[in-house]
Symmetry: C2
Subunit: 202 residues, 2 copies
DNA sequence: ATGAATGTAAACACAATGTCCATATATTTC
DNA sequence: GAAATATATGGACATTGTGTTTACATTCAT
């Protein structure tokens, strides 16, 4: 039962294919298209053509273009999340922020993620999915790290970790989405320094 | 020379109309459409229909849909910018941030601005325009206020005002664009408190 | 083996983009 | 004031993407 794999990109006869195979191919094509040409070129039609699946199939499985894009993104990038915990909260935050800055500055993620966030502004489906599968989990990791630091007495008791997250990662997203100023290592370091020590003077 | 103003929305004969009148009508229609139905419903076609102008005219005057949207936004909202300067930097920052939070939470601007920023992620024209006419001027106002505070000795000398801006307004935009957490007055106040006094403990 | 589930191709209707044209009117120039 | 020029208008067109419908082929489960 040797299935002749067509060497050419996509040319197939009629009839059903295994669902798992179709899904795999679609996600691969979606991720590839997203990372190479960006959200502007990302259409259901092109994903269908690249994956060899029919548009109807895509419409059946994914509720919106954004949902498909997000699935494609995670399929391509994978769940590369981690949070160091050395006990030194300043160092841990700086390390995590620098890693984030590098990811956004040196890889395609730095173009794709802003485009996904941008698209989510007019796509409630994608907005919910993005919160649920991307921002909320990442936020939780940071909040946990800050809570631990608080328990160790490294942070003031009255500080809300959720606000701190916005003042660190939110600041990065700001420079990513509205690029008036560059996203650099020095920026990441200054964020932590400013916030921990305070910028005021008695 | 009495020009009979058609009482019905948009029904006109052929021929050239005064450029200023056309421009005014187009901007009014664009702003209105944007504020009532949002970016998703904002199309060249609908702006043309609402304004009574022809699509060709819009294509000639505006390089992209985003540019037209931004012009319409400013036409509708106007340059409502101001920065208090009472000498108390903490109070000034808090006041300005609270005003921003209110604008975004209680008016249509809170929906439109995220959509414009979102659209800018895949529209370089709009991105440049947004920086040039919106974010850069606003940023400058905040930076100037922080510089003045520095000169008065209220802020540490080694602090970069540009970073501070991201940690205050960037944090707000974060909650606006990725709404995991709500945008509240308490949030605005906590931002300033955290940053001025520092969140660390010796 | 058989039938239900599901992917495929092809066609359609629809909306919006972007670009023609010929014509009519405003503005400028003489 | 009249002619020349600039430009807005309506209408038509090709193109692209969305989303749905229909008939058919193949896989998967029983």
């Amino acid at each position: 039962m040797v299935t002749q794999q067509a060497p050419e990109p996509a040319r197939r006869g009629r009839g059903r294919r295994p669902a798992a195979e179709v899904r795999r191919e679609v996600l691969r094509a979606a991720g590839e298209l997203l990372l190479t040409e960006g959200m502007a070129a990302f259409t259901i039609e092109r994903v269908a053509a690249l994956s060899g699946a029919s548009r109807v199939t895509l419409y059946k499985w994914w509720p919106s273009k954004g949902a498909l894009a997000l699935d494609g993104y995670f399929d391509a990038v994978g769940p590369t999340l981690a949070f160091p915990d050395t006990g030194d909260i300043a160092a841990d935050l700086t390390a995590q922020l620098r890693a984030f800055v590098h990811l956004m500055r040196d890889t395609r993620a730095g173009r794709v993620m802003p485009e996904l966030i941008g698209h989510a502004q007019t796509d409630p489906e994608l907005s919910a999915l993005l919160r649920e599968r991307y921002s909320a989990p990442r936020r939780a990791l940071a909040v946990e790290a800050l809570e631990r630091a608080k328990e160790r007495g490294r942070l003031r008791e009255d500080v809300d970790p959720e606000v701190v997250v916005d003042q660190l990662w939110g600041a990065c997203y700001h420079r990513l989405l509205i690029p008036d100023q560059p996203l650099t290592d020095e920026f990441a370091e200054a964020l932590v320094r400013n916030l921990l020590a305070g910028i005021g003077r008695p």
